[in-house]
Symmetry: C2
Subunit: 180 residues, 2 copies
DNA sequence: AGGTAATATTGAAGTACTTCAGATATGCCA
DNA sequence: TGGCATATCTGAAGTACTTCAATATTACCT
């Protein structure tokens, strides 16, 4: 049996999980009023790191990545978009989308074409193979996702969604303020 | 006034936030029993993406990155570690830690030294400048974090921590199973 | 109608992450 | 005691992300 990680996720008196390492770190010298925020954000980081790694591994079987898949979903929703619109929609740089679309184009999953109204812009749309790839992924995604949320009630998933979007709202509001 | 993002985070009848784009996508053809999980995981992705970008921008002022900062915190907690131990602790590849420690060493924030008991291994510890850097960052981190969790009650933060760690447990359990 | 600031995409250069392979060292077993 | 499997770190090569600058184009203002 290979060596396992030393467990660091424990349950407190109220029945809630906490990260022992973070709590030990906090005991040193983090002000009391920052404990809850620090622990929550550290947990968010841990969860998303694990989730992303898990998704990466799963998507490898489809010769896909999360970044490229996001582009495909967005194109499926919108029909076609300029590269800039894709970038804004996914909150990444236009340079990044250039690379992701290069890769998707190389795999024949999308097609680039000129924007009829703006000769600077390039539009992109799903190719038939891209539509098929999304159908294939969707067919199997359910069971993968099911494993990731094993043990969660619908109420917990709803609450997780709500709290994450509340956090996202803060980061979006902050970013919009920085534009001014 | 620069153009703002079209708002996509809305509130449902129960007073909970949801991502309109995800919900529209779900209405097409995602099975009912997968809706809650899909929405929760999409929200987690959005929150962590925004949080990470926000942290990146904030850490730039300290000439730091999240990856390198994680290394520093871990060294502060443990005194010294081998590069492999840092990698395992942060759930990243040893190759990645080599690069992060290269950068930290170049900035004189850490020091590498031979492991007295294993000539293959290299240990790393905080340099005095690293300790100072952590002190500087800690002094200001509170207000940055405060902004990120504006509008959250301690109860919500505790619940967010719990739900994220519950998710993290699933990804950790899955990864340990893959080792067998 | 011309000039100029802004926009869209991509080339260049960088960081953070991955996998794989190589060099050196360790530990275990026969 | 020697052989072999495993461990540790890093070089090589790759992806996904960033910023900045360059080129071509658009839009607006005088």
């Amino acid at each position: 049996m290979p060596e396992m990680h030393e467990p660091f996720i424990e349950t407190d008196a109220a029945g809630r999980l906490y990260d022992r390492r973070v709590r030990e770190h906090l005991r040193r010298d983090v002000p009391e009023n920052e404990v809850a925020a620090t622990e929550a954000l550290a947990a968010l980081r841990l969860a998303s790191h694990g989730f992303r790694n898990r998704m990466d591994r799963w998507l490898e079987r489809h010769d896909m990545s999360e970044g490229r898949l996001s582009v495909l979903w967005r194109l499926r929703a919108k029909g076609s978009l300029t590269l800039g619109e894709v970038a804004e929609s996914l909150d990444v740089s236009a340079r990044n989308i250039t690379g992701l679309v290069d890769h998707l184009e190389r795999d024949a999953l999308v097609e680039r074409f000129p924007d009829p109204e703006d000769r600077r812009a390039i539009r992109v749309r799903l190719a038939p193979a891209g539509k098929q790839k999304l159908a294939d992924i969707k067919r199997e995604m359910g069971s993968a996702r099911h494993g990731m949320v094993a043990g969660f009630t619908d109420e917990e998933l709803s609450q997780l969604r709500h709290l994450c979007l509340k956090l996202a709202q803060n980061t979006i509001a902050h970013r919009e303020l920085e534009k001014v």
